[in-house]
Symmetry: C2
């Protein structure tokens, strides 16, 4: 297929003029217009969505591509993105991928062809990186870090520090046998939290004990059984997120293991649910709303240049009912 540039060359006009004729975005001199249409006819050029979009004005659309809409962390972040979008008159289009690269790629190309103003994406699927690299509209990565180039920016929490704070808190609570439930190893934020935990173990000269998990309830139930059989002396559990912390509590409670007296639990994220369940979950808070807002603002303010911008937010310990400080 011939390009808009070939049409422009043949018609002896600029590519922008070709675009104006195609999109009708501005008046074009009749004689030039005729030349463009003749050239289109001659070259067989078909204006596709992407070509059209390159020249159009802002569509006032933000695309948000989420790995899971059943994970409250992401739906809370989505709400924050939406509030910000709404404030500036932008629309939000949500795409859920269930972490599948094919869906991520389809969503990226669809949003690009719609001429969205930018995409907010959370992924660690390497197969998707090429689509990110070649995406004609700005891409902001939230929560994770990826090995892709030409990004508009990163917005995430300091997960390494979050992992450190969680481990230190359990030690402050008197735990001597801590097990870390690690999120998926391909997920950069899960690795960073785990590394934070390891650092504390090293500093405090305590054993590293780890089990692998995903971010959903059911897997959390399963993994807790594993912990109890593999590490029967466990007295502290760092869950990979709040949802899994709730699962851990469920299993312990069903076996008559008291929380926090026998085993202490700390979650991660500070989703709303964490303080609404009984008992309320001690957790490492991510500033979920700020992350969503910042990501949206990067796109809306077109605050994008060739330097990848990275915005790192602090995490914070929130002590609730599933842990208890020594001596309290």
């Amino acid at each position: 297929m011939s390009s808009i540039r070939e049409v422009a060359k043949l018609a002896q006009v600029s590519p922008a003029t070709v675009s104006r004729v195609i999109n009708g975005t501005a008046n074009v001199d009749e004689e030039k217009k005729k030349r463009v249409l003749d050239a289109i006819s001659e070259t067989g050029f078909v204006p596709n969505e992407v070509a059209r979009s390159l020249f159009k004005k802002s569509a006032k659309i933000i695309g948000l591509i989420l790995p899971s809409i059943e994970n409250p962390f992401f739906t809370q972040m989505a709400n924050a993105v939406e509030r910000t979008a709404d404030k500036y008159g932008y629309r939000l289009i949500l795409c859920n991928t269930n972490d599948k690269p094919e869906r991520e790629k389809t969503a990226i190309s669809m949003l690009a062809s719609m001429n969205a103003d930018g995409i907010i994406l959370t992924t660690n699927n390497e197969e998707t990186y090429e689509s990110v690299n070649s995406c004609p509209i700005p891409v902001v990565i939230t929560d994770r870090r990826i090995a892709a180039k030409a990004l508009a920016g990163y917005v995430h929490s300091d997960h390494y520090e979050g992992g450190r704070i969680a481990a230190k808190h359990l030690i402050d609570c008197g735990c001597k046998n801590i097990v870390c439930i690690r999120g998926p190893v391909e997920v950069s934020s899960a690795r960073a939290r785990y590394e934070g935990y390891c650092k504390v173990c090293h500093e405090q000269n305590i054993k590293q004990q780890v089990v692998d998990c995903t971010y959903d309830f059911e897997k959390g139930l399963e993994v807790t059984e594993t912990i109890l059989s593999k590490y029967p002396d466990v007295d502290g559990i760092i869950a990979c997120n709040d949802v899994v912390a709730i699962s851990v509590y469920k299993v312990l409670n069903s076996k008559g293991i008291r929380v926090p007296e026998d085993v202490q639990i700390i979650g991660y994220d500070n989703i709303r649910l964490s303080k609404l369940v009984t008992p309320e979950v001690t957790t490492i808070a991510q500033p979920i709303d700020e992350i969503g807002q910042k990501a949206a603002e990067l796109i809306i303010n077109n605050d994008i240049d060739n330097n990848e911008k990275e915005f790192i937010f602090e995490t914070k310990l929130i002590v609730r009912d599933t842990t208890k400080l020594k001596g309290e």
Copy 2:
């Protein structure tokens, strides 16, 4: 602005041929193509998104407009829609409205202009009905019923029967002072459930006691305090959904009121969370996956005619830890 028909007339071709030239969807004889492009030039016709879409083939897109992505009922339904869409090679575009009519209207018009194959919508905002009536693509309404015409179909549970089953179960559990937490009165499904409860009260000659609520945790906490002060003898609570049932438990537990010994609680929906929290919540199950699947299939199979189709699914009692049958 001139129309595609004027262009067709001038070029002495059919409007479909004009469309083929614009969209490049099929080969057009060079001589005809030239005539079309000349006619476009002469008339000043600009193919806009909507005009383009009228002639395009299926975009293989389903639009899902949700009132809240923080309500697990809707995200579980969205996942079911997506699984079905995926199976048939359709993409899903999600729009979250926070129940705001302006957002619903914008989402409807955006999806229509994208030439989506259909829209799945849950709303009871009267201001939105006109947009539904005039929507050029099929609209399927889930969960609720609305006073709009020309719908492609309704897919929902039998909420009236659900309300009846909930009330009858609490009576079977020995409750004599039941309070019904009613969802928003503008929501047809909330009203139907409440009417089911009222019917049982009437049949059994027991007092109707009601408090109003929305579908979120925080409001559930507040409303439980109201119940305890207004109806101190309460021994059974019908929550408007599972999320609110979890809030009710939280407040009762914090005051030393035992569940189910002192007060029994039944939720609604059977979201995954309801069996993952401690204690597990007795509830009225909606077949959430089937609802999402059916709604998607109506659009995908283009199973749409002028008769509004209504698909009503049965609800089912799931007894868990927050209620206890008499004598057990």
